[in-house]
């Protein structure tokens, strides 16, 4: 293998490595980043406000407390 071919092979290998790193960070680590992001959003709520991610969802309509079926007095 001459010097030209070696250079071409190096270039191909470097491209493959860049592609591998790029695809790993965008797919495998995505849930981790998203989770951190969620946690960061919730960590900011020191006054116990609804996190922003939860505010986007409609609250459940509530009319009465839920029944419990155990006969013990509590």
């Amino acid at each position: 293998m001459d010097a030209k071919e070696m250079k071409a092979l190096h270039a191909v290998l470097i491209c493959l490595m860049i592609f591998a790193i790029f695809s790993y960070t965008t797919t495998a680590l995505r849930p981790v980043f998203q989770q951190d992001n969620n946690l960061m959003l919730e960590e900011k709520n020191t006054s116990y406000e609804f996190p922003i991610v939860l505010q986007q969802k409609k609250p459940v309509p509530i009319y009465a407390a839920d029944p419990i079926d155990g006969p013990g007095p509590h």
Binding site: Y48, P51, V53, V60, I68, P73, H74
Partner: protein
Amino acid sequence: MAQDLTDATLGFFRKAAFLARISMSRLDDFKWMLHYLKILDLINAKIFAGLGKFGPRNISSLARSVRIPATTVAFRIKRLTERGYLQVRANLDHPKLGLMKAILITDTAGGLEEKLREAIEGIGYWTYITNCYGKFNGIYTLFAFPAEHKNKLEAYLKEAAHCKAMSSYVFFWITNLCEVSPNFDWFDFKSKAWKFRWHQWISEVLKAPEKLPKRLAEPAKYQIMIDKADLLLLKELEKDAFLEFTKIANILRMSPQGVRYRYYKHVMRHGLIADYEVAILPYPLLVSDMCSFIINFENEEALAKFSNTLSNKHFIVNYGKIIGQNSLLMHSYTPRTEFPNFINALNSLVKRNLITDFFYVNLDISSFKRQTVSYEFFRNKSWTFNYKEKLKRLAEIMGN
């Protein structure tokens, strides 16, 4: 939506199964009990007891304490739950939610029971309500009521008595109820029989420490340490403490990560769950009595001595101190044949000058209603109570 329907259906069938158990013949009830006693081996007993101590989300600690592999514990719990022998519910630390526990026992003139019940249920904030018999023939209610509105509840009850909804009543503010975890110290696994060692209990009381258990200490403050999302999570755990985070997330329309975060960072960190109710009834329903006792003691030391012996008694459901008095509210569940011995044991403590006096009412478990914390009244981080509207409703019920 489908999840909500499934849970509602499951709840309905559980309630129906329980009511069917009450209404079925004695033979069937004993057959059910026989199955229960068959599964009550040493390992299951240790699991029941451990669940009360460690809670349902700490299986590894529970497994270590009972020296059984965690997989075996998890498998047995799953099987017991599926067969309906085991239910675990969270008991909330109400003072940390800004709520005060209270007990109301009413007597009513004949024919007004339904109106009285409607008037009491109309107040809201009740956690348990049933008919009662004995010293008071009427309605027995437990409340978790906002501390900031406590005067309004007292005023409402006075008004209800004035309207003749109830002929007489007793009402007390109490501490959070202390749950008695399942305890099998007095159970003989060979003969599958419970032992009632009343004399041993009396001597235990006489020798017990004179310091009041920490859990019976009167709360210094009633501070709201929750937001609405925490409250919704807590009410789900009140119904079923085994419920998975993903299912809670579906019910509350939150993300599972959000539920997990709130559980560990809010509920656990602030100790919003006081203890767990491991719901097993040790004796057949139809030949047992569920009673509520109000016991007055000579002094705080006598109250402490008595209270310190209750945490391992299988015939006690839970107990709490009456605020501002040397008195105790105690719920018991005893086989009918042992009930006279129970009363004799208490009478012997009266003779020994520990107890001043006591009274009890029988609770009718076929007419009970129980509900979670009244989260529907929680708005803008505070509890609401529309006193005028409640009075108006009371007048309508009583036909004034």
